[in-house]
Subunit: 387 residues, 4 copies
Amino acid sequence: MTIKKMRVGLVGSGYMGKAHAIAYRNAMAAFAIPQNLLQCDMLADATPELAQSKALELGFSRSTGDWKSLINDPDIDVVDICAPNFLHKEIALAAISAGKSVYSEKPLALNASDAKEMTEAAERAGVKTLVGFNYVKNPTMQFAKQLIARGDIGDVVHFRGVFNEDYLADANLPFSWRLQKQFAGTGALNDLASHLVQLATHLVAPITSLCADLKVVHQHRPLAQNSDDSNTGVGEVENDDQAHMMVRFANGAQGTLEASRIAWGRKNGLSFEITGTKGSLVFDQETLSELSLYVAEGNPQTQGFKRILIGPEHPDYQAFCVSAGHGLGFNDMKAVEIRDLFQGVVHDAPLWPDFRAATQVNIILDCVVESHEKGTWVEVEQYDSRY
Amino acid sequence: MTIKKMRVGLVGSGYMGKAHAIAYRNAMAAFAIPQNLLQCDMLADATPELAQSKALELGFSRSTGDWKSLINDPDIDVVDICAPNFLHKEIALAAISAGKSVYSEKPLALNASDAKEMTEAAERAGVKTLVGFNYVKNPTMQFAKQLIARGDIGDVVHFRGVFNEDYLADANLPFSWRLQKQFAGTGALNDLASHLVQLATHLVAPITSLCADLKVVHQHRPLAQNSDDSNTGVGEVENDDQAHMMVRFANGAQGTLEASRIAWGRKNGLSFEITGTKGSLVFDQETLSELSLYVAEGNPQTQGFKRILIGPEHPDYQAFCVSAGHGLGFNDMKAVEIRDLFQGVVHDAPLWPDFRAATQVNIILDCVVESHEKGTWVEVEQYDSRY
Amino acid sequence: MTIKKMRVGLVGSGYMGKAHAIAYRNAMAAFAIPQNLLQCDMLADATPELAQSKALELGFSRSTGDWKSLINDPDIDVVDICAPNFLHKEIALAAISAGKSVYSEKPLALNASDAKEMTEAAERAGVKTLVGFNYVKNPTMQFAKQLIARGDIGDVVHFRGVFNEDYLADANLPFSWRLQKQFAGTGALNDLASHLVQLATHLVAPITSLCADLKVVHQHRPLAQNSDDSNTGVGEVENDDQAHMMVRFANGAQGTLEASRIAWGRKNGLSFEITGTKGSLVFDQETLSELSLYVAEGNPQTQGFKRILIGPEHPDYQAFCVSAGHGLGFNDMKAVEIRDLFQGVVHDAPLWPDFRAATQVNIILDCVVESHEKGTWVEVEQYDSRY
Amino acid sequence: MTIKKMRVGLVGSGYMGKAHAIAYRNAMAAFAIPQNLLQCDMLADATPELAQSKALELGFSRSTGDWKSLINDPDIDVVDICAPNFLHKEIALAAISAGKSVYSEKPLALNASDAKEMTEAAERAGVKTLVGFNYVKNPTMQFAKQLIARGDIGDVVHFRGVFNEDYLADANLPFSWRLQKQFAGTGALNDLASHLVQLATHLVAPITSLCADLKVVHQHRPLAQNSDDSNTGVGEVENDDQAHMMVRFANGAQGTLEASRIAWGRKNGLSFEITGTKGSLVFDQETLSELSLYVAEGNPQTQGFKRILIGPEHPDYQAFCVSAGHGLGFNDMKAVEIRDLFQGVVHDAPLWPDFRAATQVNIILDCVVESHEKGTWVEVEQYDSRY
Ligand SMILES: NC(=O)C1=CN([C@@H]2O[C@H](COP(=O)(O)OP(=O)(O)OC[C@H]3O[C@@H](n4cnc5c(N)ncnc54)[C@H](O)[C@@H]3O)[C@@H](O)[C@H]2O)C=CC1
Ligand SMILES: NC(=O)C1=CN([C@@H]2O[C@H](COP(=O)(O)OP(=O)(O)OC[C@H]3O[C@@H](n4cnc5c(N)ncnc54)[C@H](O)[C@@H]3O)[C@@H](O)[C@H]2O)C=CC1
Ligand SMILES: NC(=O)C1=CN([C@@H]2O[C@H](COP(=O)(O)OP(=O)(O)OC[C@H]3O[C@@H](n4cnc5c(N)ncnc54)[C@H](O)[C@@H]3O)[C@@H](O)[C@H]2O)C=CC1
Ligand SMILES: NC(=O)C1=CN([C@@H]2O[C@H](COP(=O)(O)OP(=O)(O)OC[C@H]3O[C@@H](n4cnc5c(N)ncnc54)[C@H](O)[C@@H]3O)[C@@H](O)[C@H]2O)C=CC1
């Protein structure tokens, strides 16, 4: 009997591609994954030259300028999609056809209908899927889930989530594909609020209805300049800088979710406050290795928010460090995600959030757009009950 | 010519009544208000006995069990209303009829129509009015307004405000008038969100439309027990524990506002984040003497939120202390409010927020209820343009 | 039988004089002190004109340019000394001779031998004394003491205290009496570290030995300029900008104490961390209404520093506000001090820290200077065992 | 010509051994180090079995139960010492004899005389050396150094450093070699304060004299129990739980340094505050990706500590992530250290802190012990001027 391996083909080697590359190594050392069972094998990017230089840089053995040849390579077990949003569908469907496991960055698709098509193809083909909603892999977030599940804060009655960054806060940053519907879909909604929607449902309950408001704040941006400075035009921004939602959850809880890509000062400003009938939880991704917990019990004199530093007592921390409070970084969350991927692909463990679960996010994002356009509340279809 | 004085008649001596009593003394010493010009004269409460003991305790010379006799006393210049919400209207209208200046706690009235009636009566009678939206009197908040007004953060594009407390988070706290529509009006909305609405409009721009969601979380509460323990029934809570709003401002900015009276761990959790085109401001009333400011200028390496401790360089701090960062307390904000009242009543300075401005808050609170009931966006009537 | 009253004569109406004036009013309203029993009667300052204008401003009925006449006035019960350090002794001794209670600002004296002389004079005369170490009157600090006393953090094994401000951080601030030994005594040591020494001993145990290091950082400062700009000289700074101590406590605990008046960014930076065998306490005066408590018990997963917001469950808060977390300010601590003074003077309650207790601080400050000069550890005389 | 490689032999695979293993992978992906040039080759531990299982777990190709055979293996270029303190000297001297580069964990040696012997051997042999003072490799710390070097806070006048953890705070934790002089040397001093001494000198200036105080708080600890529970004895703790130093720097600045291994609640509590003539810096390793900067310039109204989140504008961050504020973890600092090691070994870049620089730390630690024993100030020998 041959031992199953995980030979990875990475498509796209920008921001996330590099984060994945680092995380594969990190996961191997942290989680004692044998080197022969996890191989960073081939890297595809837009051109052969780019792919080659990135493969060298990121430690992949082979490279290609054509993602299709990566997919069709018999030695590739997992296709890891770190290409821009609009390519996820085509690449994933091709990989599924080739019988490969697919590990895709989020959001899964540009809309729910594409996401469903991808999910159904994967399920029919029986391939493993995983989507890169990495924030739920953070030991701190896993611990938050544990606390809620075991009732430490009672029944959840409220969720407030914010995901603010300032990567487009400067109104003079040039126009790009990220600002165009056909390539990026929505704006802050897809980029940031998708994470928030995913983790809110995970931590609280399915979202059953919502009412939303989107806004393009900087409506025009300068076109990137030609080398001869001839280009002085502006491009029209097609998607939201800011997104708001009021939501209702299946368990009766209420919530607000919002995201902005123009919120000066916020760099990875994913934060939430969860209120239960017995206590509260507060988290801020900018201090990713701590969680604040308030429990209304014992002497009222000594009640307060407790700042818990994540350590070996909490899920998946000890693999990185035996001492509490030494802090994990962004890439460490991805390493946990890759450990999951490995367990799923090589040891047939269930993978989560898979395409089905990620489709539920796309369904909600579609509802946001619909609610914004209609100015009313919208009921959410429940596609994935586990989510 | 006689020097104008401010002899105060206080109606209601509970939580706010005491805060006002402390603040009158505090204001006199801090702002050098001559003792003969500001007198804590008469105190009215529900019974003569209560009024008498409270007058002694809080340093008022005279007392009465009937607020009408206070209002009609010729030596009273200002009627200070610290009675429950449902009494504001009747007391204020009577005081106005008697030609007295009126200083009322917030919210001004149970609904906009009452508030308008009160405003118009006051304006016809030409009496001075002031409503106790004390948070805008905090030197920190005044400084926030200054920063915005002088453009330090550019044009405001977003406001997120939260006012959470946990005074009713324990589901076993007994039923009371606060939970009944006829006495309290709405719940967290009136108690907490009213402040938020007032300061959002003050700091950003008038709110022109909104969409809202209200929720009673703990639907029944035990009735307060009779002494013989015979009472074991429950009361039905009639107003919101949690309130959400998405809002749009006249200047084009967007915002979310929310309040909860059941948010475990939050004690005076009035916080906001204001995003502008050049920077951001963050404030939290639980650390009331500091403001965080982010300005996107200079070397990107040294940009970050600056924690500014309020001091003598900022409005109205120096009256309390010549050293920066020594901290003001809740009652000190009220002292600033009373300094304003004194300036208005004795030196005829304009008073703000007066009944007209406070009516705008009531209009918005009514829109919230309407939006919640209809499930749609609601346009807001602009009653007070200064607000 | 005549009811005892407390008619106050205030000497000095600068920074602290005003804080006291505010606090007298504040204390009356907050602690229900009858107006006829506490009177802000006479104010003395360096000249009659200054005294008169300050009396008007701060609400004192009478004024004088000669503190001796205040002391000898038969209607004055308590002499409140808010004059510069070097005057404390002379004024206090005169007040004691006249049989008056004395309420003096800290440090009690320029050195231990003066402090002892004052203490013994007061004790012989049987007059009440109180010294303005206000930080221990803060409800938060009282609560810290409670927690330690009842063993919540076990036996104290370590104290680290810092009192940093930046009021002289700018090297171009002009020369003044504060920088001269004859008027001010030591520098940051007297101004700031005196508080730290007082509260460390209070919270932990008597200090039995110490080793210290003092430093003048800015050795010269420009003389204050004459109006005709003729003065361009510099003055030589005679006392410490920074002060360090390593200490050992009677209970076996160790500690470090340090103070600086040139620590840029610190405005009221009195902070400490106390480690016990079962937990820890952290406090920072710049957020004076909160205390952080770590207790090593229960599930290790949920251990962390708990941020406790001071409220009505804690000592002396409820007098100011019935809601938790609404925050007290610097002047509120002084109001608690004055409530104590009133209880002591009018109801014969014990007063603390009195001259004897404050003398222990002066003894320790003298040891600091001695240790610095000798470069060795110094044993501390135990004058006041209660301290 | 053959390309130089770095084939690593790791000795010791406990806490730090694993951190190094993770960091080698991390460094390769983050800093684009070609896989063929950096090889995790052989791992030595106390027994062949342990070594073998650890090699598998941590991704080393070969293993041995005898570190001498690792050192003598011709394919090993760098000997990485992650064994307990008392073994550093013997292993390092052997590696140097074999002409290998040596990367040793801190503290370099049990005392200064051993450290000098090691330094001189290495320098004579001309081998590269590096010591694992990883905290100075943190991008945040590198940025702090930059800020100081370019004068943003003026001339440094004060340093306060604390390194507190609670790994031995529980008095019932069993006796171990860490508590014995012959194996561990000093206690909190060697473990924690050594880092503090290293970075204080790096950030400020050489330490020229000091006065110190050490204390064993828990003098006995239970012996680790035999399996049959027969063992009920206690061991006598031989080294310090708490360590204090007052220091003077070559540039005239003053400082205090302290460390504790029994400070409940502190998990990686390495923090400092550096005061300069124009501003201040504050850092806390428990939030390792942020730095607080106060600069006394511009409008006093808007001065405050600025919380800077580390990002691509700062040294060595971009290799890990292109977005600011996404956070690095403890192991990422080690990856930077290994990048340095690689540059030194393969590209002959200068390595720092090398044995000579680390010897200066040992010299200072020896002075601490001497000062504690004598109760006086001690002058520090200046062995390494770069340090
Ligand atoms: N999980 C998370 O926290 C984050 C997820 N993402 C997601 O990752 C995905 C990639 O985003 P970034 O890495 O930020 O973008 P990027 O622009 O930095 O990188 C995209 C990469 O795809 C490559 N690419 C483009 N067209 C290609 C083609 N036809 N064939 C092969 N490669 C092609 C580009 O050359 C580039 O290497 C997006 O879906 C995004 O939403 C991005 C940032 C954070
Ligand atoms: N500005 C602020 O931050 C706050 C404002 N408030 C407002 O202050 C007002 C009073 O609230 P609290 O002081 O919390 O209530 P409370 O229940 O503590 O005090 C109400 C007082 O009114 C008295 N009262 C009731 N009926 C009366 C009558 N017929 N005649 C005379 N006195 C009567 C009661 O005996 C009691 O002394 C409310 O409108 C509330 O919204 C309350 C808390 C904070
Ligand atoms: N407890 C605390 O937190 C603080 C205590 N203090 C203490 O308060 C005392 C006063 O300090 P500040 O108020 O800061 O000083 P300040 O300089 O602001 O005020 C001193 C006052 O004494 C007056 N004075 C001077 N000579 C006088 C004389 N011969 N007769 C009558 N009045 C005279 C001055 O005119 C001035 O009004 C000092 O002992 C200081 O250590 C100061 C600040 C804080
Ligand atoms: N830079 C930093 O932040 C830190 C540095 N350290 C340093 O790292 C070194 C190791 O400490 P830890 O990893 O915490 O200790 P540890 O006890 O976790 O690991 C020590 C390792 O050395 C092995 N070992 C013991 N005797 C050996 C022998 N004769 N031959 C080969 N291997 C042997 C042990 O089996 C174990 O694998 C120490 O010098 C310590 O000061 C430790 C923690 C943090």
